[in-house]
Symmetry: C2
Subunit: 457 residues, 2 copies
Amino acid sequence: MPKKQMKLGAFLYPTGHHVAAWRHPQAAANAGSSIAHYREIAQVAEHAKFDMIFLADGAGTRGTEADLPALSRTATRYVAQFEPLTLLSSLAAVTSHVGLVATATTTYNEPYHVARKFASLDHLSGGRAGWNLVTSTSPYEAENFGSGGYTPHAQRYERAREFADVVRGLWDSWDDDAFVRDKESGVFFSPEKLHVLHHKGRHFSVRGPLNVARSPQGHPVMVQAGSSEPGKDLAAATAEVIFTAQVTLADAQSFYRDVKGRLAGYGRQWDHLKIMPGVFPVVGRTRQEANDKFEQLQDLIHPEVGLSLLQATGGLDLRGHDLDGPLPDELPPTEGGKSRQQLLIDLARRENLTIRQLYLKIAGARGHWQIVGTPADIADQLQERFEGEGADGFNVMPPYLPGGLVDFVELVLPELRRRGLFRTDYEGPTLRDNLGLPRPAIGGWAPAARAFEHAAE
Amino acid sequence: MPKKQMKLGAFLYPTGHHVAAWRHPQAAANAGSSIAHYREIAQVAEHAKFDMIFLADGAGTRGTEADLPALSRTATRYVAQFEPLTLLSSLAAVTSHVGLVATATTTYNEPYHVARKFASLDHLSGGRAGWNLVTSTSPYEAENFGSGGYTPHAQRYERAREFADVVRGLWDSWDDDAFVRDKESGVFFSPEKLHVLHHKGRHFSVRGPLNVARSPQGHPVMVQAGSSEPGKDLAAATAEVIFTAQVTLADAQSFYRDVKGRLAGYGRQWDHLKIMPGVFPVVGRTRQEANDKFEQLQDLIHPEVGLSLLQATGGLDLRGHDLDGPLPDELPPTEGGKSRQQLLIDLARRENLTIRQLYLKIAGARGHWQIVGTPADIADQLQERFEGEGADGFNVMPPYLPGGLVDFVELVLPELRRRGLFRTDYEGPTLRDNLGLPRPAIGGWAPAARAFEHAAE
């Protein structure tokens, strides 16, 4: 039996994940509106046999008028870029095997639209679509949808659970063989193979059926990123891939055991959920070269951008404080994202960091796992986490694009392949084939909402 | 000065516009989920220098359980097919000049999502996107969005006007040159070139800005199809292309004068709105061949499908009546679509048609303008309407696909070109270039909502 192999996603911010990526000499600064740029990196990822490319999303531009000095120096995904579903649909036409995973929020969408667009993408890509289900916490999104406020966590998750069930129910509207298209008899579809959803719940009332035939994968692959308790439960009930942000091996192993351990409660198998932590690799042929590459990026961070990163990542507003002094003792409370704020504060206190050192520390991976080193260094760490049951694979976050992805492909992948840890060719044409995930049967899944009712009993 | 030339759109239903199209031996019955099919017809349309391809839309599958006998024999757009924005985004990657126009309803969408997706499509197609703004009347859509009922006409249009203004406002979020991306100074965009919308209206509260840079066309081309009084006013205020359904020359001329005459009231020029009636052409090398082609399609209509067509087109439920008898004297009133119902009844009475004859009569073009004849016959009629100020161009509705489009391209276009009525090459890379429409300046358009307030004074 061949050795178990890791799964790899390419997590694509337009110019790359480092906060100053766009200023890098080899970065495509116009990435957010250059389809040629995305075509190139999608084809690089496919040529390298990545399982998927993955796009984050937010339906808004971050920041208020007061944030403009920092925002105007920042070219992350928060400013302006392609909308993910249109972008991936376009990339579907110029690729043939790489998976196409887009984020879409359950907070400001309708399940019918989401079910339809991802099913359509699955058809037009020949079975390569994945949906990263998220809930929205950002006020910058809320204000674009008639809501000034912040939706409480529990309510967002309740809506998300029902949303996931409606979407999966709509994907089961038609049997795989419903469309007989028999020109002779004139029967286009078999009426008994149509399943009308008739969903009536607390948040949604959706009759169905979906006006898209069942898609090549049955369901597009369900992806999630939540790491709160309700997030982990929702993932255990519904997700097939989880993107996580554990930095240490011990945390990764603990998260892995925790979430995988919940699967049985939802009637699911251990290996039908792939846990793929983010990793931010800075690769050099030598450690010195890797460090130099990283410092080159760090040097490009404007202090305004560094401070805004602390704000965006952990809700910490440290403007006006001495950049080369410690964090103030008293910090005002924030709405939402409390756990991320505490992570930052703990990090600063533990390592005795100045404000500048703190923002430099998180600037690369923004709190994700960061490895600066040689191909062997990086392969060692990935292998340790993969074989130590801390991960089923990784979500690679290139520091800048396209160069950072090309580095990983040209330097790290050969090392992983030499160790027998990563494929040399795709297992099949669909994302499920490559991830090793089963194709869902019609109705063959536990409704998240019902599972949660049981859990609450 | 060269002769004025007509604009041409290819209005694509998956298998074609004839209600029995999918049963035609040369029709692609699997069109609704075959990207290869759409790639072929998009490339045929582009090779022929069509201005655009156009996709209708409805967020639902028509019919209730009682309609299944007819529905299951019908492969029109009402059953299952690609979602338009994902489909056009994919086609953008395999075409370079043809315009890409998708329908999206204002009734069950959020303006931020719509503005964003069309701006994204405009970027990834290099300036070829168009948005066909519609309001939704179908209960089959309403039931997928938590609403069992029918939204009154006036309220739908009020929402649509505000929706159009929010979308255009969001498209003006960034000046064309806002993104300076100066790696040296670290300035990614110029803060003074960002325009935050801060819209607060009756239906929507949307802060903005849009998280997509201003798109190649400034605004994707605004398309509409309404022919009610509020529909014509909305079109005069906001539309740049109108798809209409006038059957006779006199009606077309009257509509043309009526709508164009309203433009000045909104500060707009006569030729900045292109009126493009639908035309359903059945082309033969001889009249006999054309008639035979048409009869071949008509013979494929199952009576269940014919009756459901009367229901779908004009709200007429004639099940249980003698197909070879006249329409009953008393017909139950319907909600919505009253004018289309009356058009059907008038047609039957005027031409003394049986029920079967009535459904056969509308089966081809479904109430649109139908021409069965030789290339010269069809060119004569198009020329008459074009030169007689009944149209600026036409929205070609192929009876079946891909054959019906290929017939038009191979037989009718050479005749139109011989007469100097249609281009031999594209004027430019964007849809606006080809339609001869100006590129909107930031804020250089009259808000529809305000225009209507003036009209009401």
